[in-house]
Symmetry: C2
Subunit: 342 residues, 2 copies
């Protein structure tokens, strides 16, 4: 069984190229979302603990079963720890045997960015040039990197309540061939932007984006509203948006649309991402529409990331064999593994 | 982060001793079941796939979050593969960080045996001497090994539809200081036994144990009825038993009691294991009672196994460090891990 450490994934990305990896991931996501009916899915089982949330995200089709373990602890950075840590596993459906176990902290940042870029590609105006990113934490630069693959971004405005996070963001993205604008407030960043990506960590209902800042034509990626009691967008703004979600059953629990009663939420959304990708619905009908990708992150995205990873680790020969699966000569003779040693 | 391979667990067990490990696990299970109210639990999310089932089993208390990945594919042995493979992870609740990742195939066999022995200890007659074990697959010898820690077993009768499995069972347990009796049928094994443990893999409603074979005073561990549509005990026998389950909400979906309507099932059981261990209920009120531990396997048992393992790997210094958790110098600077490598 192949285990992919952080180091192994770093090596793989340095060889394959970050932009190539993100582009491949977008292609994989597009393919997998487009065969939505092939998957068995469920809203992710979450356990709410003091200071955060811990979740498992399972999914399967006829070939693979994937799951991710992931937490969200907004106060972790005050103790030098990351807000989100994730691990995941890919298994064969035919026999239930695991084949790949991986770090998924980096992989989650990558797939979240690739997925938002995919949605941006099919939702934002083609002439979108100015991107605003509110929340400059661990995922923020990945978002910019991926968005640049789908739109010709000439200006990136950034804002975070933590000035050190803004410093880090600027340091990582300077010299990238676009104008970097340090905004004095979320309002300054958002007003006049074409694409607004929001990824903050606070586990409360916070109006990170206010209705009055938002003008016709904007596309918003709402990524941080992803847990019961955790939203980022002023509720009155939702009324003005063409809203797309990934998977209604989970989004109504975790997304911005949790602020409506389920039956109301169902009417407020235009539909799900897979429907847009397969041309079953249209979200942006005019350059003046305000579009919102109310993204919570679903297991299918981790499935896509793990499947791509599985292909690439074979191609590049990275990873480490660590035997987590017993191999008794007789499959029914597990006991010999512990008595032979006595 | 410490990763426990099959080899590492074998080393640990050979050093600690199999019986000591099982006894420690029983003690840990007793402790954890006795503080039932400390845990956040849920029936395990299962996905039914062609040929089997794949499940995740999450649980947490205030200190640890544990989960197990486990499959059940009854046809695997015909292809030289094991029916059940499992992996698991223990994480800290305070920050969501994983601390231990382990093989759990062996560990599942060990905890299932320790748990059934714990139940047998508090349910079977004190003078029980004859054990019958129906289903001589991967878990069977572990069951005998653990049961011997709680009762003075002088005779073990065994039966499986697969003669090769019976051969293997006898080979592994010969010379153990008890009489080994190869039975010609399940009926021959069961009639007159004091303790009957049933652990077969067939994913159907099968009457592995028939009502008419069972006399007053018997204790039955029904372990293989652990999935919707998979039971082992003739329904009419259930009517005669004092039934104990682990966790009603899950057992009513997966256990022998799935054959009743939920409201009926609730009345048919005496209660849950934790209630018996904390003296809130009595199951055996007379030597003539027939008792049934309708066990499905719950996440708490994996929690106990992982916590014991965590203690022992520290004590014996086994396991392998494999970094699945990124450690950027700034917790919000995940991006530097992929751009530094470009």
């Amino acid at each position: 069984m192949n285990i992919i450490s952080v180091q192994a994934l770093q090596t793989l990305i340095s060889q394959h190229g970050l932009d190539t990896f993100l582009a491949d991931l977008m292609a994989q996501l597009r393919t997998d979302f487009s065969r939505w009916g092939d998957f068995t899915q469920m809203p992710r089982p979450a356990m709410h603990v003091p200071g955060g949330v811990i979740e498992l995200m399972p999914i399967c089709d006829q070939k693979y079963y994937a799951f991710k373990y992931v937490n969200g602890h907004p106060q972790n950075p005050t103790n030098g720890k990351q807000t989100v840590i994730a691990t995941g596993q890919l298994s064969r459906v035919a026999d239930g045997y695991p084949i790949l176990l991986s770090e998924m902290t980096l992989l989650t940042a990558l797939r979240t960015a690739a997925n938002a870029a995919l949605a941006t590609d099919v939702m934002a105006r083609k002439d979108a040039r100015i991107m605003a990113i509110i929340g400059n934490g661990a995922q923020s630069e990945f978002q910019v990197q991926a968005t640049r693959l789908v739109r010709d971004i000439t200006e990136v405005r950034y804002y975070d309540i933590d000035p050190a996070a803004m410093d880090k963001f600027a340091r990582n993205l300077k010299g990238g061939g676009f104008k970097l604008v340090r905004a004095k407030s979320a309002e300054v960043a958002v007003r006049g932007a074409d694409i607004v990506t929001v990824c903050t960590a606070c586990k409360q209902h916070v109006d990170v984006i206010k209705d009055e800042w938002v003008a016709a034509g904007m596309h918003i990626n709402g990524l941080g509203g992803d847990c019961p009691g955790k939203t980022e967008i002023e509720q009155s703004l939702l009324e003005r948006c063409q809203i797309l979600v990934e998977y209604f059953e989970q989004s109504v629990i975790e997304g911005e649309i949790q602020r409506f009663e389920p039956a109301v939420a169902r009417r407020k959304i235009v539909g799900e991402l897979h429907e847009l990708l397969t041309n079953k619905i249209t979200v942006r009908t005019s350059p003046k529409d305000i579009t919102l990708f109310d993204s919570v992150g679903i297991a299918l995205e981790d499935y896509s990331a793990l499947c791509l990873l599985q292909r690439l680790v074979t191609q590049y020969g990275v990873g480490e064999v660590c035997e987590l699966i017993p191999t008794p000569s007789n499959p029914k003779d597990l006991f010999s593994l512990v008595v032979a040693k006595r």
